[in-house]
């Protein structure tokens, strides 16, 4: 049976811009162990063309898979958290459901168990592989996940307030969070992010003081359009929501829309 919180999570993720970490890998989960496994398998389940999926966790784990047609054919590289389990019989083997389904699931569960962040980079396989092989079907692996999971409320509230605000405004060309639980996270074209980084560079503390003078209280949200970039007229928004502090870039014409979103979000 399909769980309603899964549907909600999926709908939410479809409505969000992708998040990327410092290594330019796409973040696909930042939750508990079950969510991490589910996100990893879901990524496989959405991969139709031949791809090498390279998963990383913030605990130092790494898993490289050859994937095609929603199926895992091989584990090409495996590095467990903190360097543990250096050998695994599944690495390099053509996987089959009859022999490896349970063991693969256990490997993935151990890999992502204590991770707070799971990210993925998809690339064209360096070496050709036998695409006619059956491998492990992601849909079957997904069924192995225990039925208990996060509540619907927690699924809806995934991500920090700043992240939810920024991803909820389509006109924002790029953003950068420099302080708070999502510090270092950014979105947008690399050139846009580079400009924001330059704006923030060495003066983040000054911007915090700058915003503080306008806030109605120490924990109150505050944002300011602090100017525009010299080379293109994009407006620079500086914001503070809770302990999150960062910058965003948007076309000047979109400022009224941003103000509406800001107000709706904070009420």
């Amino acid at each position: 049976m399909i769980r309603s919180q899964n549907i909600l999570k999926r709908l939410k993720s479809l409505g969000q811009k992708s998040r990327f970490n410092r290594n330019h890998a796409r973040i696909i989960a930042s939750g508990n162990a079950e969510e991490n496994v589910e996100a990893l398998l879901q990524e496989v389940n959405e991969t139709i063309l031949a791809r090498e999926l390279e998963f990383h966790t913030d605990t130092g784990a790494k898993l490289c898979l050859n994937v095609i047609g929603r199926r895992v054919l091989h584990i090409t590289a495996l590095q467990m958290p903190n360097g543990g389990e250096t050998t695994n019989p599944l690495v390099g083997v053509l996987l089959s459901e009859g022999d490896h389904l349970e063991q693969f699931f256990q490997t993935v569960s151990r890999l992502t168990k204590d991770a707070n962040e799971l990210s993925v980079v998809a690339s064209t396989p360096k070496n050709e592989f036998d695409t006619s092989a059956v491998g492990l079907q992601a849909a079957r692996l997904l069924k192995n996940i225990p039925a208990s999971g996060p509540t619907e409320d927690s699924a809806i509230e995934m991500g920090s307030a700043a992240f939810r605000l920024l991803t909820g405004i389509p006109d924002i060309a790029g953003w950068l969070i420099v302080k708070g639980e999502d510090a270092g996270m950014d979105s947008g074209e690399s050139e846009t992010v580079a400009k924001l980084t330059k704006v923030a560079e060495g003066s983040a503390g000054k911007y915090e003081s700058y915003l503080e003078q306008f806030a109605s209280g120490p924990d109150k949200p505050v944002a300011s359009v602090v100017g525009s970039l010299s080379d293109g007229g994009m407006s620079i928004l500086c914001f503070r929501i809770g302990d999150q502090f960062g910058f965003a870039l948007a076309p000047a014409a979109s400022v009224p829309l941003i103000i509406d979103n800001w107000h709706n979000f904070n009420n």
Binding site: S203, V225, V226, I236, P256
Partner: protein, 122 residues
């Protein structure tokens, strides 16, 4: 029309504008204002200081080639919007507005810019 009449016109045209003021930011002094209710001088002084500070973007002090000095400053808090406009980036004179969030910002900006042009304030 003098500047006070222009401020009254803006104040009447927008229900969501709580305070309309014209100030000399270089000395942080409100020279004229139009409000929907009686407000004290302290509040006007505070608004003027905030407007002056809103134009002081920290990045300008570090690398002025990266950011154009702002002609318009917008600050959003949980209490409303502070909007300040000046004719040029180096003009000491500014129009300042304190608004509710349901303000039609596009129309207000247009009227405010026209006011700056008509009054020849620089």
């Amino acid at each position: 029309m003098d500047i006070s009449e222009h401020l009254d016109a803006i104040n009447k045209a927008f229900d969501s504008v709580r305070i309309t003021a014209f100030a000399d930011l270089s000395v942080q002094l409100v020279l004229a204002d139009a409000t929907k209710s009686d407000i004290g001088q302290e509040l006007l002084d505070d608004l003027c200081i905030k407007a002056a500070n809103a134009f002081e973007c920290p990045a300008l002090a570090i690398d002025s080639s990266l950011i154009d000095p702002p002609v318009e400053a917008i600050v959003m808090t949980d209490e409303g919007i502070l909007l300040a406009l000046r004719a040029t980036e180096f003009s000491p004179n500014a129009l300042i507005f304190e608004c509710d969030y349901d303000i039609n910002l596009k129309d207000l900006l247009e009227m405010a810019r026209n006011t700056l042009k008509k009054t020849g304030v620089e």
